[in-house]
């Protein structure tokens, strides 16, 4: 592919490059940007300087005798260096100009207690000075203004600084044209407050690349790499990694499940109306997804507001069939999808991923039986153990399908033992009506489900598929191309792939706990023909049970930290992306310990 060779590099990106090359790659090459407290505060610091753009007279018109003046928000570029910069503030005094850059934080404390500018800021200002000089201005010094402490740090641009910066520009440009992402920083204090830490997953990626194959190490493009891997191989591999991502993300899903609701929008608040009366107001900054069941109207204004906030809208039929998702623009690059399409055509790779997924699913099914069965069936456990081993060495996708089917049969035969509410003293004896439901499970059936538990399982799988479709899109995958499930399935095959290990852990577990804790009771079901469906109240109760499960903190088997299932889904999805882009070789399927 032809890169735009003469595209100008923004000076701001040189700052990012000096901070962390990987951050530069994400922001400049992949175009991924995430806001956190630091970036939000940073943009607030700039509201005044970005207020209006001043004109800067050409260098020749600045006279020695001119009085000092300030000019804000000036964009200048230099063809010679191939860079462009937006100067926050330019102070002119006669013909001498000095750029000032606004930063939200505080200056760097030197060893002797004096304050100085951070290296990344120094590089960015040096770039600005280079551009100014290239445009004919006289410029000796630069200033960084740190808003937190309200201090200005002035420094002289000497030849050594210019030489260093030119090298950095060069390295950044080489990286911008490279195809491989630099490795994450090692145990760096920069990571915890970096806005992209949830995307970059520095510690997790480092842990995973410990098992990187030799051949890959030789292909590495970056000078720092050989030392790094040498250091890594000495490290003990089994200590827990730092948890840099928060264990919960503080956002809630919104479920709308009454037919006839009408969703409007006032500023950043969704107004849910029933017969023109507002029944609930929901602030967009507290919502991570909007789920609509059945005929619910959403105004275009509301859709625009939801998409602007990058919140997905998922559509279901009243019965829970998952139709699709409306998304904002999402990931604005194609890199991950391109790798996904390439690898999906490699049968050996697909088989490797499929084996891991199916084996993981069977292991998790076995764990479920062990943990929750009233009397764990020894024979079934042994069977499942064997099938897990078979799945790990299966020679084709077809045989995997067979193994998976057998395992599912054994597992569902024993599912009844995990339901603990069918005791005779629990159920009311006086009702006598024959349409009263009991929680008895014989076999899995669907389209339509014929008993309450199958109805719950179907709904649970449907909303789990929704969650993984949304997450895989957020990460940059195309959910409609999978490695194990083939495209003909009609639903998102990648989401179905990714959800395999989580079916028992999230969906089945949510169903069982909903029943066992009596969140869902027999009166929550209705029969229609030979199908069994949930009543609106039943569905509400089940959403609550499902989201409780999603919000449960769980220890990641590989990294040893505790995060909720919603986070785990995203982390697993990003780890699969790492395998596709070649950063790591093995996909660690999520299994509980």
């Amino acid at each position: 592919m032809i890169q735009a060779e003469n595209a100008l590099l923004p000076a701001r990106m040189i700052n990012e490059y000096v901070y962390c090359p990987r951050l530069f790659y994400y922001e400049h090459v992949e175009g991924i940007f995430v806001h956190n407290l630091e970036t939000i505060e940073g943009s607030h610091v700039h509201t005044r300087v970005d207020g209006k753009e001043d004109d800067l007279p050409p260098a020749a018109e600045l006279l020695e005798t001119d009085r000092p003046a300030n000019r804000r928000s000036i964009t200048l570029s230099s063809e010679q260096y191939g860079i462009i910069a937006k100067l926050d503030l330019l102070e002119t005094d006669g013909s001498l100009v000095t750029p000032v850059d606004y930063k939200r934080g505080e200056p760097c404390k030197a060893e002797d207690g004096s304050i100085e500018a951070w290296p990344a800021d120094r590089a960015q200002l040096t770039v600005q000075v280079l551009i100014l000089r290239d445009n004919g201005y006289v410029c000796e010094e630069a200033i960084v203004y740190y808003a937190r402490t309200k201090q200005r740090v002035r420094f002289t641009i000497d030849e050594q600084l210019v030489a260093e910066t030119l090298q950095q520009i060069d390295a950044a440009r080489r990286l911008a044209n490279a195809t491989e992402i630099p490795p994450p920083l090692e145990d760096s204090p920069k990571c915890p407050r970096c806005s992209l830490v949830g995307v970059c997953l520095p510690e997790e990626t480092r842990r995973m690349s410990n098992v990187r194959s030799i051949s890959r190490q030789q292909m590495i493009l970056f000078e720092v790499e050989p030392n790094r891997t040498a250091n890594l191989s000495n490290q003990p591999g089994d200590e827990d990694v730092r948890r840099l991502v928060p264990s919960r993300d503080d956002l809630k899903p919104l479920y709308l499940n009454q037919p006839g609701l009408y969703v409007g929008c006032s500023r950043k608040v969704l107004q849910v109306k029933d017969k023109k009366k507002i029944v609930q107001q929901v602030r967009l900054n507290e919502v991570c997804q909007v789920n609509l069941f059945g005929s619910i109207q959403v105004t275009t204004q509301a859709i625009q507001a939801i998409c602007t906030e990058e919140i997905p809208i998922a559509y279901f039929s009243m019965g829970g069939w998952f139709y699709g998702v409306t998304h904002g623009l999402g990931v604005k690059n194609i890199y991950l999808r391109r790798e996904q399409f390439r690898w999906a055509d490699v049968p050996s790779f697909c088989l490797r991923i499929a084996r891991a997924l199916v084996a993981g699913k069977i292991k998790n099914q076995r764990t479920m039986l062990q943990r929750n069965h009233i009397e764990p069936p020894k024979v079934a456990l042994v069977h499942l153990k064997c099938m897990q081993e078979d799945a790990e060495t299966a020679f084709s996708q077809e045989s995997l399908l067979g193994i998976e089917g057998n395992a599912a049969r054994v597992y569902f035969q024993n599912l009844q033992g995990m339901i603990k509410v069918n005791d005779p003293e629990d159920s009311p004896t006086d009702s006598g009506a024959d349409d009263l439901f009991t929680f008895e499970f014989n076999s899995r059936n669907r389209r339509p489900p014929k008993d309450p538990i199958n109805a719950l399982l179907s709904l649970a799988y449907s909303i789990l598929a929704k969650d993984l479709t949304i997450i895989s899109q957020t990460v940059g995958f195309d959910p409609f191309l999978g490695f194990y499930h083939q495209p003909r399935y009609g639903r998102a095959p990648l989401a179905l792939d990714l959800m395999e290990p989580f079916r028992p852990l999230i969906a089945d577990s949510a169903v069982l706990s909903a029943i066992n804790t009596k969140m869902i009771r027999p009166e929550h079901f209705i029969r229609a023909g030979n199908a069994v469906a949930l009543t609106p109240d039943g569905r509400k109760a089940f959403f609550r049970a499902y989201e409780q499960r999603m919000d449960t903190l769980v220890t990641h088997p590989l990294f040893g930290y505790r995060v909720n299932y919603r986070r785990i889904l995203e982390i697993q999805c990003r780890l699969l992306a790492r395998v596709l882009t070649g950063e790591t070789t093995n996909y660690p399927v999520f299994v509980t310990r």
């Binding site: 500023r267 609930q280 989201e547």
Partner: protein, 96 residues
């Protein structure tokens, strides 16, 4: 992690008052006249402070941010009411 905040304001001009009220509706629940109860992440708090900062008159108006602690734990137990009941709702999802 979210913290519960009470945001109380005293605005001397009707036009600015309405602007502040409308802005606050994006961030929290209207508890009483000039008092909102908000559950802020650090990012939300920064955004809210910034938006109000752009509206208010810095010599005449005042906005107070009272931090009542983490939502889970102290935040939902420090408020008690006389008269009309006070309820705080917290769930892992919103269902209508």
């Amino acid at each position: 992690m979210r913290n519960t905040y009470l945001v109380c304001y005293d605005i001397c001009d009707d036009k600015r008052l309405r602007k502040v009220f409308k802005t606050m509706r994006d961030f929290g629940d209207h508890l009483q006249y000039s008092i909102f109860e908000c559950q802020f992440t650090p990012v939300d708090l920064a955004k809210c402070r910034h938006e109000l900062n752009e509206i208010i008159h810095h010599y005449e108006d005042q906005v107070l941010f009272v931090d009542l602690g983490p939502v889970e734990g102290r935040g939902d137990r420090v408020i008690s009411a006389l008269g009309k009941a006070y309820t705080s709702l917290d769930a892992s999802c919103i269902i209508v």
